[in-house]
Symmetry: C2
Subunit: 309 residues, 2 copies
């Protein structure tokens, strides 16, 4: 569906701000709490939090992250899910979200309603109150930026730092072909898995794969080490070749690091008990610089998604 | 300064994402804490908060909120200050901010550096750590959306709800001419004042004036009442006529409501002791519907700024 309509009376600007905000509250339904905890004041009020908090922000932009071939419901759902994936990567659970919208005056209300209904449905599924936002106008733009607030599920928050030379590299699910298959709209953020992994002492570091394994793995790699991956161990989606699995991006799977002294068998069994329907794969280790085997993937030959290029 | 440069090697896209993020961390300086509390992970980590929290989001967009005649430092500063003003309106103080940037690849690095330096300077002045953000690309767009997190300064958070028939209406500072004079870039968010007012039991409701008094006052007006304002009591900036004071918008002054039984003299004295350099003015009251005096301003004849029209 195209976000713009040629019918002036079906546009967002035919309604103006006040009526639009009323409609947005209706479209969000129970995912928008009543004021002062939701839309309706200068700020939304959130309860005190006795755990460490997490905050992240990610957008969806027309012409960049979606086009007129995509259902607006899927756009709204993806906006929240890509932020939830960032939260999953640190072992968090969501507590609240705010949404900043920038709309061309020709955007159709039908498009916007479906966008919000997709967002609200996903918000209810993952228990994320949409507590506030902003509406702004700019010609030629349809952009939505969501800020997600969360908190640690347990005592521990996982970061990208902590891997050591010799540690094992793991990935959830399978990689590659996300954009071509439309999976980047259908994926499930790994919130339960991320929370579980953050509580396992043998897991040292984690991130979610958004720009492709070949690029994202550098953020986990400790000084003095190189990722030594085995090409045939990489779990790939059907139809995805090695290059796709390394560079396509938007996999939204978790990449994490296991202590080199960990009992890998015990870890795999515990994983299967907790998540019998999602595979986890050891794809290699962090080898000392210069000690790569001949069978190791030459990861420097692959490049993930580089923004602003 | 125009955000776009015709010199390809001076653009943000000539650097790409990785180098740009390194530069952003340098430009933000001490206003960006080290990871995991700042830029560098999937989420930023924030300490637990034992007070109720506040969250708000507001953007600045090229062609809408600023143009090439505005110094980029002022744009960065305003982005944070307009969010701080929302926090002030509820009696909050800031705790953290994240920034979502959408940039055309032709944006010049000089423009972006000055923008960030203006933001960082303001962040240090108001003690706001800039903990994270996102960079996205879209043709023809220069937009920045800032989400600000805060907490109540005391036990009480003020909302827009709570005024009763007969209550007094007050405003800080003076109104009108903010856009024409450039004051909308130079204003000071009323954080200290908002925090003080939220702790005064006689103050029942508050907001910050962003779309003009004539529009914003409706959000404070209780059922069964109308705002009865006296035109000659409205504090106006030099050169601003009555219409400007009522409708120009972007005043960023606090509009608040005093209990009708409050001791107005005692309140005025306490205010002068706390804020000797900023005036506060009683501009009228909420009269019962149909009981307006002939001298009352016909506020329905004035319209504030309506977004998306």
């Amino acid at each position: 569906m195209h976000p713009f309509t040629p019918h002036a009376d079906a546009t967002v600007s035919a309604w103006g701000e006040t009526k639009l905000i009323q409609s947005i509250r209706r479209w969000l339904g129970t995912s928008n709490p009543p004021p002062p905890f939701g839309i309706g004041n200068d700020c939304a009020v959130l309860p005190a939090s006795h755990r460490r908090q997490l905050i992240t922000v990610d957008p969806v932009i027309f012409g960049r992250h979606f086009d007129e071939t995509v259902a607006p419901r899927a756009v709204g759902a993806k906006l929240l899910k890509r932020n939830l994936s960032d939260l999953a990567a640190m072992g968090g659970r969501p507590t609240a979200a705010v949404l900043a919208l920038t709309l061309d005056p020709r955007v159709s209300r039908d498009w916007l309603e479906a966008f919000y209904r997709g967002l609200a449905e996903t918000a209810r599924r993952y228990h994320v109150p949409i507590v506030g936002g902003d509406l702004a106008q700019a010609n030629g733009v349809v952009a939505a930026s969501l800020t997600l607030l969360g908190e640690a599920q347990g005592e521990r928050v996982l970061t990208r730092t902590g891997a050591k030379v010799g540690d094992w590299i793991y990935v959830t699910g399978a990689l590659g072909g996300s954009l071509a298959s439309g999976r980047h709209f259908r994926f499930s953020p790994r919130l339960r898995e991320g929370g579980w992994l953050a509580q396992r002492p043998e897991v040292r570091a984690m991130l979610d794969l958004s720009d492709g394994l070949a690029k994202d793995i550098h953020a986990l790699t400790p000084l003095g080490a190189v990722p030594a991956l085995q090409a045939r161990q990489l779990p790939r989606h059907r139809g995805a070749d090695l290059k796709a699995a390394l560079t396509d991006g938007e996999d939204y799977e978790l990449l994490f690091v296991l202590n080199k002294n960990a009992d890998q068998g015990a870890f795999a069994r515990a994983w299967r008990r907790a998540f019998p329907r999602l595979r986890v794969t050891c794809i290699g280790c962090f080898a000392p610089n210069g000690q790569q085997l001949a069978t190791t993937l030459r990861i420097a030959d692959y490049h993930g998604y580089e923004h602003l290029r």
